[in-house]
Each structure stands twice: as structure tokens, then as C-alpha cells.
Amino acid sequence: MSTVAIAAPIKSRLGIGASLKRNRRWALISSYFFLILFAIFFLMPPYYMIVTALKSDAEVAHMATNPWIIANGITFEQFYILLFQTDFLVFFKNTVIVTLCVVAITMVVSVLAAFSLGRMKFWGSSILATGIFLTYLIPDTLLFLPLFQIVKSIGLLNSYWGMVLIYPTLTVPFCTWIMIGYFQSIPKELDEAALIDGAGHMQMLFKIFIPVALPGIIAAMIFAFTVSWAAFVYPMAFLYSADQQVLTVGTVTSLIRADVYKWGMLMAGALLAAAPPLVIYAFLMDYYIAGLTAGATKG
């Protein structure tokens, strides 16, 4: 009896140890297996876009070979046509102008407002902050028709400057909201120390708050950049001539001419148009994700 009692725990402990290890191994292997399936699902469209963009027109049009692979060799002719025979570069230039202006406007407006709402506190400031968050939840598809009328009345219809005016409605509320959160997370003693050191409001903002909240500012900038780069409803509704068009709408509509779909070129255009956000994402992933998750946790 006593020998069994001593032997049993040792044996079972060994058994548990081994099975724990085995369980963990299986959990890991199955995790990888399913993740690979999901990764295939998530990455298949971009993969197919790349494959198509690197094919010749002939290979795309004739369905002789497996569409998922490049059978007849890689060619850059689609990119060549795109860049030198279409308005793609005009779209690109317009998008760059619009996006840079919108990012600049957004950052100035939202950093100033967030500093005021998050740190200075005045009568009605918390109501205003809540109101800002609610306006962020109003989608563009609810506003584009009245805005059409407004943009038309000030003569900015079919002009990308109209986009510079309108896009901040997409970016400013959210950026302000997350910047309020970032500013509020800075300890109050820091501004008191600055106050005693002799800083005024603007010195406090520029010498203390902006440098300290720099990660948040980068996250907000990335958000503003990606949103204005990807905006679709407003340019779709307000811009119609090619010289004013931006990338998203230009690629989807103007490159398609008279029902002749040059898919290779279209995919090349979509890829190049998507490249700037992807590059920023690749280099600043942590900031990008911080901005994404901040909206639900801050404020």
C-alpha cells in the first residue's frame, strides 16, 4: 500500500509532464495549420493582383494557362503602359497633394483641439469631446449628398481642392479623439513643472506635449494619411474629369475604357496606388496598430 502510494504520484507526474508537452505541441501545430489557411484567404487577392500585373496582356486574355501562376514570364509592360499611356500619374499627383494637405490640416486642427480639450478644460469641454466622438461615427455616405450641394455652391465641384476641404471631416474627429487620450495620459505634474519652469501655453504644447505625445501624433498622422489616401465616396461623387481625379476613383473608373478591361494594367494601377499605405504600414506597423486600437480604449 505504502509503496504504491509513493510510486503512483511519481509515475503520474511523469505522465502529466509528457502529455502536457505533447498537448502544447499539438496546439501549436494546429494553430500554425489554421493560421496558414487564414493567411491564404487574406493574402490571396493581393497575390493574384501581383501575378496579373506581371503578366502580358495575351496571357491574361487567353485562358490557356493556370491564372494563379505566371507561365509566360514576368513582364513590366503593364506598368509601362500605366505610367506613360494613362492619366495614372496625374491621379497620383492629385492624391499626393490632397493627402498631404489633409494630413497637415488634420494635425494642426486636432492637436490644438485635443490639447485644449484634454488638458486645459473649459466650460463645456467634456460635452464637446463627446460630440467629437459622435461626429466620428457619422459615415460619409450619410453626408455626401448635402455636401455635394455645399461644394457645388462654393464652386469646388470637380476640383481636388474640394477634397482638401471635405476630407478633414473624415480624419479630424478621430484624430482629435485619440490625441485627447494621448494627452490625458501625460501626468498632470508635467505641465505643473513646466508652468513653474516658466512655460506659457504654446511653449507647453510645443516643447512638452507634442514631443512627449509623439507616438500618438505619428499614429494620428498615419490614420489621417491612410483615410485620405483611401477615400472613395467623396471623389466618386464630386470629381468627374481626369485631371482632377484621385487614385482610388481614377483607377477604378477612368482606367476602364469602353468595356475593354485591361486587367493587367488595372491590377498594376491598383498595386501602385495601394503601395504608399502599405509601405508606411510596413515601416511603422506599431504606430499604425496603436492608432487603430486607440479609438476604443482612450478618452
Binding site: 500554425y32 489554421f34 493560421l35 487564414f38 493567411a39 487574406f42 487577392p45 493581393p46 493574384y48 493582383m49 493556370n66 491564372p67 486636432s110 490644438l112 483641439a113 485644449s116 480639450l117 486645459m120 473649459f122 464637446l128 463627446t130 467629437i132 461626429t135 461615427l137 457619422i138 459615415p139 455616405t141 450619410l142 455626401f144 449628398l145 448635402p146 455636401l147 455635394f148 455645399i150 476641404l165 471635405i166 471631416t169 482629435t176 472613395f232 466618386m236 461623387a237 487614385l247 476613383v249 483607377t251 477604378v252 486587367w263 488595372l266 491590377m267 491598383a270 496606388a273 495601394a274 499605405p277 502599405l278 504600414y281 496598430i289 487603430l292 486600437t293 479609438g295 476604443a296 480604449t297
Partner: protein, 316 residues
């Protein structure tokens, strides 16, 4: 206390004499402080008031005009819409589109977040980075890619189906498959957002809770039900509601892939109001259509706000 205040006696006279000086001092500093604060908010207030709040109200006015915007017609546009079968189809399709897309986004997001969380910490970053790619590509552009995948004659999916001996599917021309397709694209685009939100929430659950549960003898499933879900339910609610708004109001996917067709079966509020307002030039009718989104969005927004505030308090 009143005693000490009154008991200053003679000393209080010079004090009261100085009182006006004090008002000019710190108090003035404080008053200037709030003037500066309001000034700093002014650009934001102007943008929000002129380009969000005003258009929202203007939209209501606009929706009560006739097509040429010359005559006030009251609720005629709304009653007209309510009498049209197409409009009711739009309502139905918007609901189906939003609910099913959000459901699958949430489900796939939850599963993938758990899978990524199971991996060794070193590899998590790489996988997370890879799985978020659909969210990073501008939706209009990736939808174009999907359109090409669904192309009637060149569909790469049909190539696979044929290879496996199945029949080809008319992805975008069959009304029912078209509905499935637009939902699929939306799920593909939105699931990574859920993944990121859940992963962040999973990381915020203290490891000790799981250790305590292990010692109490909980299985993996029990840990998920009794620890993970309760700790995450708030962030899940926020993300679902938020995604519901965005999906419900989505424009890009349907506009690019089907433009509402075939037979208006895939129209959602956004594309239908675009069709009426911009393509057919009846701004008031389009505005009336999009206004139907408002009550649903408002309810979701209120719940989101409640959730965000609660989460703010939980985080401290």
C-alpha cells in the same frame, strides 16, 4: 469656519482693498487660460459645425424638396420611397449585408486572434503584420482585385472549381451569388480589424487569471468562457457596434463590384442613394434614402459611447 473668516477684524480691511487687484491677477490668468482653450478648439468647431453638423441638418431640409429643388414637398420623398419595392429590397439587403458580414468578421477575428495569441511571442508580430494586410490596402483598390477574381470569363476561382470537377459559378451576375460575393469581400476586408482589436484585448487579460484558473482545474474551453469572454465582452461589443456602423454605411464594395445589380439585388443604402442622388440627379430623394440609415446608426453610436466610456473607466 465662518468664525475665522469674520474674526480678521482690522486686518481684513487692507485685504478687501486689495481684492480688485487679485481679480486682475490669477483669476485673469485663469480667464485668459479658458479663452486660449476655446480659441484652440475653434478650427475643430468650425470644421465640425460647417462640414458635419450643418450638412446633416441640411440633409433633412434637402430631403423635403422636389427633384429640381424648387418646391417644398414635405415628407413626399419618404412616402414615395416607402411605397417602392426596390427600397424595401435595399432595406433588407442592407440588413443582411451588415449583420452577416459583421458576424463573420467577428468570428474570424476572434478565431485568428486566438490562434495568433497561441504562438510563441517572437512570431506573433510577423503573423499579425501579415494578417492585417487586407485592412491596409485601400478598400476600393482591393475590391477591384476581387472583381477580377470574380470576372465572369476569367474567374480564377472558377478555374479552381473546374479543376476540381465542380460547375462554374456566376459570381456577380447571379443575384444570390452576387450577395454572397459582396459579403465575402467585406468580411475579407474587415476581419483583420477585429483580429487586431481582440488581440490587444487578449493581451490585456492578466496572465495570473489563467494561472489561477489552471490551478482550479479549468479546461481551455472553460478558461475561454469564464475568463477571456467576460474580460473582453466590452471591447467585443465596441468593435461589433463600430463595425456595424461602418459596414451598414459601406459604399466601396457594392459600388465597384456590382453597382447594385443584378436587378438591384445587391444595393445597400449608400449605393442606392448614390444612384438616386448623383447618377439620376435627384438629390432630395437620395438624401431621403440615406437619412433612413440615421436611426440605426444613432442607436449603435449611443451604445458604442457607453462601451467606450466604461472601458475608459476600467482601464483607469
Amino acid at each position: 469656519m465662518a468664525d475665522t473668516v469674520q474674526s480678521w477684524g482690522p486686518d481684513s480691511i487692507p485685504d478687501t482693498a486689495k481684492a480688485p487687484v487679485r481679480v486682475k491677477g490669477l483669476q485673469k490668468f485663469m480667464r485668459r487660460h479658458s479663452t486660449i482653450a476655446v480659441l484652440m478648439c475653434l478650427p475643430l468647431i468650425i470644421i465640425v459645425a460647417c462640414l458635419i453638423v450643418y450638412p446633416a441638418f441640411y440633409s433633412i431640409y434637402l430631403s423635403m424638396l422636389n427633384k429640381s429643388q424648387t418646391r417644398f414637398v414635405g415628407l413626399a420623398n419618404f412616402t414615395y420611397l416607402l411605397s417602392r419595392d426596390t427600397f424595401w429590397m435595399v432595406v433588407k439587403q442592407s440588413a443582411i449585408f451588415a449583420i452577416s458580414a459583421v458576424f463573420f468578421k467577428a468570428l474570424i477575428g476572434l478565431i485568428t486572434a486566438h490562434l495568433v495569441n497561441n504562438l510563441p511571442v517572437k512570431g506573433q508580430r510577423k503573423w499579425r503584420g501579415m494578417l492585417l494586410v487586407p485592412w491596409v490596402i485601400p478598400l476600393a483598390l482591393s475590391t477591384l482585385g476581387w472583381w477580377w477574381l470574380f470576372d465572369p470569363t476569367h474567374s480564377a476561382f472558377n478555374y479552381i472549381l473546374k479543376g476540381m470537377g465542380f460547375e462554374e459559378i456566376a459570381w456577380l451576375s447571379d443575384p444570390y451569388w452576387a450577395r454572397v460575393s459582396v459579403i465575402l469581400v467585406n468580411v475579407w476586408y474587415g476581419a483583420p480589424f477585429f483580429l487586431i482589436m481582440y488581440l490587444a484585448a487578449l493581451k490585456s487579460v492578466p496572465e495570473q487569471l489563467y494561472e489561477a484558473a489552471s490551478i482550479d482545474g479549468a479546461s481551455a474551453w472553460q478558461k475561454f468562457i469564464h475568463i477571456t469572454l467576460p474580460m473582453m465582452h466590452n471591447i467585443i461589443a465596441i468593435t461589433v457596434l463600430f463595425s456595424l456602423i461602418v459596414t451598414f454605411a459601406n459604399f466601396d464594395v457594392v459600388q465597384i463590384m456590382t453597382a447594385g445589380g443584378p436587378r438591384n439585388m445587391t444595393h445597400v443604402f449608400a449605393t442606392y442613394s448614390f444612384l438616386l442622388g448623383i447618377r439620376s440627379g435627384d438629390l432630395p430623394l437620395g438624401a431621403a434614402t440615406s437619412l433612413f440609415m440615421f436611426p440605426i446608426l444613432a442607436i449603435a453610436a449611443i451604445f458604442i459611447l457607453r462601451g467606450v466610456r466604461k472601458r475608459g473607466r476600467e482601464i483607469g
